[in-house]
Symmetry: C2
Subunit: 94 residues, 2 copies
């Protein structure tokens, strides 16, 4: 074991975790990005989750769940949300 007092295996483990974290982050970035925009657009218009839910045709709890980022939303659902916020959703590969 080196003087620094930390085993390489542990460092590697940490780096691996960091790699995993990065990969995980990359994977979740599109989701968090669009959610941020949704929350931003909604609050900017002083719209409550309940009002947005009404326009979308669902319940406020479901809007809260969406905004929490705890699951993987479908494209159609995102599009419905966007239109209920007076916007269009645009998906671009680049």
């Amino acid at each position: 074991m080196s003087k620094a007092g930390i085993k390489f295996s542990n460092v590697k483990e940490l780096l691996m975790k960091d790699e995993d974290f990065k990969k995980e982050y990359e994977k979740l970035k599109p989701r968090y990005d669009v959610i941020s925009q949704i929350i931003e657009a909604r609050t900017r218009q002083n719209m409550t989750q309940e009002e947005l839910a009404f326009r979308v045709g669902t319940q406020k709890s479901n809007i809260s769940r969406l905004e929490s980022g705890t699951y993987n939303p479908s494209l159609d659902f995102l599009a419905k949300i966007a239109r209920s916020l007076g916007k269009d959703v645009q998906v671009i590969l680049k």
Copy 2:
């Protein structure tokens, strides 16, 4: 009935259908748009559905199904596809 020989109710019906069609189209536009980009990116790289499937970690039949536009894909799936095509998916509300 007017001289033109077509009942208003029928015209209305047609217009309604047109409205429905427009609404339906608006609703499906984001899906078809992103699918077009996927197919474009894949074929541009001379990549087969089988190769894309391998990179994504699924089967070629599932890629075919996605590209057929017959269902409502999730954001994560689109992101995985994009990355396997060497691209990033970008979702914008505007």
